[in-house]
Symmetry: C2
Subunit: 872 residues, 2 copies
């Protein structure tokens, strides 16, 4: 006997999502705990993998297994699949191990044909229903199996409604739908090149194949890449007895969450449509009613639904997202999965579940996806801003965004990748728009509800979305939109607030968000758990204050070059660079000193009592000079030419500047010391100063610069007759520095891994030249699984860091080790830093909460408490 590929819902509860997919395992588990699930079975992901490996050959024995299980369904329902009089109808739904909402395909009402539709009409005494079901089958099957454009069917439907002078599908009568069905059969035959298949088993086989094939569609590939889902999982196929929400006014369909997915507020939350099939809700074509209204309309099913959902949450210890159908008053649950939610909701749910006794603190901390927290830390509209609301829609995904209107996904992708902030504005979105959604700052749709495609995807990505904005009309041909009273063109600027549903013409001031009480609680729990300290990268007193508010325990990287760029300072910087003698250069530097000191004072005050790492000047000097064509004098032109470099990344920068022009670093050290003394005087608390030398590759460089630092600081302190505790260290951002960390450690009080530059040199990737060029191709072609500038390259850069840590601690066990590249704010990289045994990570202020959580999760992982899989 060969492998087994098919399991009935009554059999599979223990088999897990890897084999049955999320949808399949949910249906089996619900069946096992006695919830009202239609009968059905699941074809495993292994069958799909076999099929894909076999280049479209169904694995041997699969067809027979399916036949056996269809026979069991026939027995259970006392109907026959393909019967002409009272047919068993089936749906086919994909379901991968990791949720890919809207990406895979579904076909309903399999088993109908030209004869059976009449049988169904008689058996249900509902001709309208029977033809509605059949025309849906033709459309879905045509689209999914034969690639007949869905739009051709939709246009026909719209034209018919026009002719009848009605606006809703439900207003069409039985005759209308019979006529429409005939038309759909013609469209199918035209598009597919053959008549609609009348055999039920042939329909089923082709549908299963189509689901398998859908795993490799471009849109599925794009989604997987965006969500870092492996390509070789395959999808399961669920074959389910049809239940009908469209048999009349005693029927309906809906989706519901056990808690509010936007806020996390406890209590059932969702939407439903009377007399409709499930696809109508998700597609966002009709705008559904809130679930609360169901209580009045369907009191008994509503009660059953509430009980069922409570039971599900207890079972899963997780917020659930279900699809249900009411057929003539009877409730069926078609799917359950862990509910997608906003970051705010995720936090609130985790905290609430601890109060409710469903989770302990460690589980609550482990459960939050730190990457998602980013959305909580997105800007919102400034509460003090005055503005006029042009239109309102549903608050589908929180956060505010400003950008230029674009009307199609291709353009959104192009302009978004080009660095422009764009708002994608659409009647509704479909899975084909995914590449545009990824690049847009925010999404605005005219149709669709809180569970429409746009809303679900936007919440998953943490992007603002306003959906179902009735006042919006999109004229894609003219590249214009109407927004209430206003006419706007593509390219005009909009602001949307996905938290309130407001749409505003033009730009509105945005402010950074605050951390609410639940978030604070969760982060406090994380702080109790983690060992890794979290600092921020901040160059201004404002950023430092923000970082502290977000829980930063110091500054790990304060870049001093931005201070050189300000308008009133740049002339002195340029004069310094143009100086023809060291004395002249010193004179200009003396003029810059008070500015630097002032900046340092502000930062020290904001970080009172906490360590602040000041990095001395790093960029090549030519960055401070104007472009050649803007140079005002011949001398300036000569100097610009002399400073020009073939590869500035590997040129005269970092500590090389400090060795070539010691007077620059001397000035900076003096400014640091003076600022520290001034702040100590003013606040009574001396800052914990760390002076950091960039781009060291040789111990000798740091030996000399350490001496320069100590000599300069001592002279300042002696003159002021004062004491100051400070440390001298270096960035580790060259492969050689990692390799010779032992020698360099002998000269350093601390190391900070500069993983941006370390990635550039270790991989030989110039970030400027890689992103948007060969690196983008590498990611598209899957040469690389992740962008090494976002996710630390553990195999290369990470291994060099491990060598550095081992060698440095070998000679200097007490040396303080941290990281200040952008990876310091990437959760996976934070986990790696924990494994490496670093003392701290430093990241942008807005990523500090995320790093606090990721650090806690890394500590939990070490104790065996791993994150619960979110998504389902």
């Amino acid at each position: 006997m060969g492998a087994r590929y098919v399991y009935d819902f009554t059999e599979g509860a223990h088999l897990g999502r890897d084999l049955l997919g999320g949808k399949g395992v949910g249906l089996a588990e619900m069946t096992a705990i006695g919830l009202p699930v239609p009968a059905g079975f699941t074809v495993t992901t292994e069958a799909c993998r076999e099929y894909l490996r076999g280049r479209g050959e169904l694995p041997p024995g699969l067809e027979e297994e399916i036949e056996t299980h269809v026979a069991r369904l026939e027995e259970a329902t006392a109907k026959r699949f393909g019967d002409a009089a009272n047919p068993l109808l089936l749906s086919v739904r994909s379901g991968a191990a990791i949720s890919m909402p809207g990406m895979m395909d579904t076909i309903l009402n399999l088993g109908l044909n030209d004869v059976a539709v009449e049988g169904l009409a008689r058996a249900t005494d509902n001709e309208r229903f029977a033809f509605d079901a059949y025309r849906r089958l033709i459309q879905m099957y045509g689209d999914v199996v034969e690639g007949v454009e869905a739009q051709r069917f939709e246009s026909e439907l719209a034209a018919l409604k026009d002719r009848r002078g009605v606006s809703q599908d439900v207003e069409l009568g039985a005759d209308d739908l019979r006529e429409l069905t005939a038309r759909f059969l013609e469209i199918y035959a035209e598009g597919a090149g053959h008549d609609f298949p009348q055999g039920a088993r042939r329909q089923l086989e082709r549908a299963v194949r189509a689901v398998f094939d859908s795993w490799d569609t471009p849109r599925a590939q794009v989604y997987r890449r965006a969500n870092r889902i492996p390509d070789d999982l395959g999808t399961a196929v669920n074959v389910v007895q049809m239940v009908f929400g469209n048999t009349g006014d005693r029927s309906g369909t809906g989706v519901a969450f056990t808690r509010d997915p936007a806020t996390g507020e406890p209590g059932m939350w969702g939407e439903f449509l009377v007399n409709a099939q499930g696809e109508d809700v998700v597609a966002g074509i009709r705008t559904p009613e809130p679930i609360a209204d169901m209580r009045e309309r369907f009191p008994e099913p509503y009660e059953r639904l509430a009980e069922t959902m409570a039971r599900l949450e207890e079972h899963y210890r997780e917020m659930q997202d279900i699809e249900f159908t009411i057929e003539d008053g009877a409730l069926y649950i078609l799917q359950t999965r862990t509910g997608k939610r906003t970051a705010a909701a995720a936090v609130r749910i985790a905290v609430d579940m601890v109060s409710e006794g469903l989770l302990n603190r460690e589980e609550a901390v482990a459960r939050i996806d730190p990457a998602q927290l980013d959305q909580l830390l997105h800007p919102m509209i400034d509460p003090a801003a005055e503005y006029e609301v042009a239109a309102r829609g549903l608050n589908a995904s929180p956060g505010a965004a400003t950008g230029a209107i674009v009307l199609d996904a291709d353009r959104a992708e192009e302009q978004g990748k080009g660095g422009e902030a764009v708002i994608l504005v659409r009647p509704e979105t479909t899975p084909d728009d995914i590449h545009g959604l990824i690049e847009a700052e925010g999404i605005l749709t005219a149709h669709g509800g809180m569970t429409s495609h746009a809303a679900v995807v936007a919440r998953g990505m943490g992007k603002p979305c306003v959906a179902g904005c009735d006042a919006l009309a999109v004229d894609a041909g003219a590249r214009r939109i109407r927004l209430g009273e206003r006419e706007l063109a593509e390219g005009d600027v909009l602001t949307i607030d996905g938290g309130s549903g407001e749409v505003i013409v033009g730009e509105v001031a945005l402010v950074p968000p605050q951390i609410d009480e639940n978030f604070e609680t969760l982060l406090d729990w994380a702080d109790e758990i983690r060992g890794l300290r979290v600092r921020a990268n901040a160059d201004t007193p404002e950023d430092a204050a923000k970082a502290r508010e977000f829980g930063a325990e110091g500054i790990g990287l304060c870049r001093t070059e931005h201070m050189f760029m300000a308008e009133e300072r740049l002339p002195h910087v340029r004069a310094m660079i143009m100086a023809s003698s060291r004395d002249e250069r010193r004179a200009e530097l003396d003029r810059l000193l008070p500015f630097q000191q002032e900046d340092f004072e502000g930062i020290f005050e904001a970080m009172a009592g906490l360590p602040v790492t000041i990095r001395l000047l790093d960029p090549p000097l030519h960055e401070f000079l104007p472009p050649l064509e803007e140079a005002e004098t011949d001398e300036m032109r000569r100097r610009i030419r002399a400073l020009r470099e073939a590869n500035p990344m590997l040129g005269t920068r970092g500590c090389r500047l400090g060795l070539l022009y010691p007077e620059i670093y001397e000035m900076q050290v003096r400014a640091v010391v003076r600022a520290a003394l001034a702040v100590a005087d003013r606040t009574g608390e001396a800052p914990l100063v760390e002076i950091m030398h960039p781009l060291v590759g040789f111990a000798e460089e740091l030996r000399r610069l350490r001496r320069l630092t100590l000599d300069t600081a001592s002279a300042e302190l002696e003159q002021a007759d004062r004491q100051l505790d400070y440390h001298v260290g270096t960035m580790i951002e060259l492969p050689r520095a990692c390799i010779r960390a032992d020698e360099i450690a002998a000269e350093a009080d601390f190391f900070s891994f500069g993983t941006n530059d370390l990635t550039q040199t270790t991989l030989g990737f110039s970030r400027d030249d890689a992103e948007g060029k060969f690196l983008t191709r590498y990611l598209e072609d899957r040469v690389l699984a992740a962008n090494p500038f976002e996710t630390l390259d553990r195999g290369g850069v990470g291994d060099l860091m491990a060598i550095a840590v081992e060698r440095a601690r070998g000679v200097a066990p007490e040396i303080k080790l941290g990281i200040c590249g952008e990876h310091g704010g990437d959760p996976g990289s934070v986990a790696f830093c924990h494994e490496l045994g670093l003392d701290y990570v430093s990241c942008s202020p807005y990523r500090v909460p995320l790093a606090r959580l990721a650090a806690a999760q890394a500590a939990l992982a070490e104790r065996g408490v791993v994150a619960v899989q979110v998504g389902g």
Copy 2:
């Protein structure tokens, strides 16, 4: 009792050169074996180090020790130091552990003063001699101790000779010298600000200090840097009883070698001057007579000299270079050291000494400095060239050079560093010119003999030098020279042949040298000893043939991009880059294929039976496009702009090109396969082809490119219905490739370390931006001891290589490992490659012999046979 700092020549023979310096230990050893050495003692290098550490304080007890040893000299010579009637006179000479010819300072005739000079005149009955000795003391002491310009004294001497109408110093009489002495005392007092010190002991103390201080003069530092001599050795000081070669016609002085230092021919070789002091020979002011003439003039001393030299060579088993003086017929040896020699001489001497039974083969191989061999492999004047000799001088250092005339060392340095070929043309050179000598292609002097400063330094550096060219007159003021009948200006082009002494106006064709019989013998011995294989980097059939002639055992790096640059090909390369579709690109590549195939065929034929590594296209495509301002079309301008990179070194190049434009690498692989088949047909011997992918950082890159290579080659072979053995491998030139050598090795048949780029990325040094900029400063300021692009950075790059070797061999013990960066031709780096266990090194064809020798020496070092120290 404290440390002992002073040893008499009779005591020190066992103490070694580190403590006594080369000159001191030579004098002690000669004293021990009974050779005629004047009495004297040595102040140790340790005393110098103490003095330098103590910032100019003589170490405690030193003055007393010197006093004790002076007293012993007084006893031995029965004269008193400082005596007014018959004074003991002393010389003070520096002598470091490693020879630094002319770099340190000497003072003769210490002990004379205004009174003692009269005493000496009476005691010797030679007033002329006494005043000549005193005026020399004043000049040397003034120059060395007080920094009074030597030129001021020289001008005075020249003026006096003018007034007397004589051309030689010896033509001046006693009265003249008495007058000159009075004038010298005035010049001294003016320059030094005080009268010439009359106390002998004060003169001695100040002279010892001046020698110690001379260790840190800029010219000594430059010499040490150029010769990689550590800065912390210090110098010894030798205090020696004066003997006089200038007492009259029965006296003289000279330098002699035990064999000819230019050719290695056995037999005494040297020069002497009658009635002169040693400084007159070395300074090159008077042109001396050949040593053979001495036999007639001083028959008895000549015989003693010959016996002495035979004894010295037997003792040292090395060619010796001595200084001697004849005082009234008595021979004194003032110094012996290992003789500097040309590379050709070194080779011949080593081979001859094996025949003579002085050395065995291993010792002979170990003794040759491979770095010096470079000069044997320098170009010579094409024997077929016709040219007119404008002047002749002494053939002071072999090899030919062509370059622009420059008249001072500063300009030579500046233009030489700027990449211009220059010939430094001087009346004579002095140690102050060292920075110019380093950068010049060749040296031409009007005065001085085979042992003049210019000649000695040029031979050491392996640069051509023509010295003592009487027909040359330099007018430094007018920046012009006269050369025989011709008038030339600075900047005009000269060719010199240091092997023949010929000077030619304009450029003459140069040819590469051949390897002579002795060299062949030595290299054969080296080949028997070494384990490391030696290949060459060659891009053309001509270079491949040359490499094979020099003993290359294959090609380790054949770059294919040069083939793209040739005039008839570039238009197709550009059209290929501009192609708007893959098909169009393929069409242009098809046009390039025959050219590549032709090049490969030539190289395979030249290397028949030996492996050839072809590296696929490496440089960024923009290197093949014209500069933006020369672009002819808007499209070309757009493309140039699009391909522009911020850091091309880290951009779209190497295997990234092969992954982005697979059709380029496919064409190259096809050309390789077709060429291999054609050569197999023509010669009956299939070449051993290795196809190498550059700049791999990730195993996945090589996995794909290996597949592309195999697929393409298989298709070609299938079509031709042929078989071909070939290998696929990669350059290891990124730190990540070293770190993940295990994964990459799984995809590779061989690795070749590309240490040029590996150095750039590991150190973060762009070669273009480092050399001449911060790297030059780093070397000047001694942040780095050596240029890492010349000498492999063992601590950083080397350690990464060691990691790579270990990890690669861990998964693929049979993988072939080599190096093809420029370090493959650097002897120290070759030794490192041997230690690492690489299979081969690959270097430029002209460095192949050098690498063969270095590889043998590395194997010998492992067996404990280390190179004998050359220099002394």
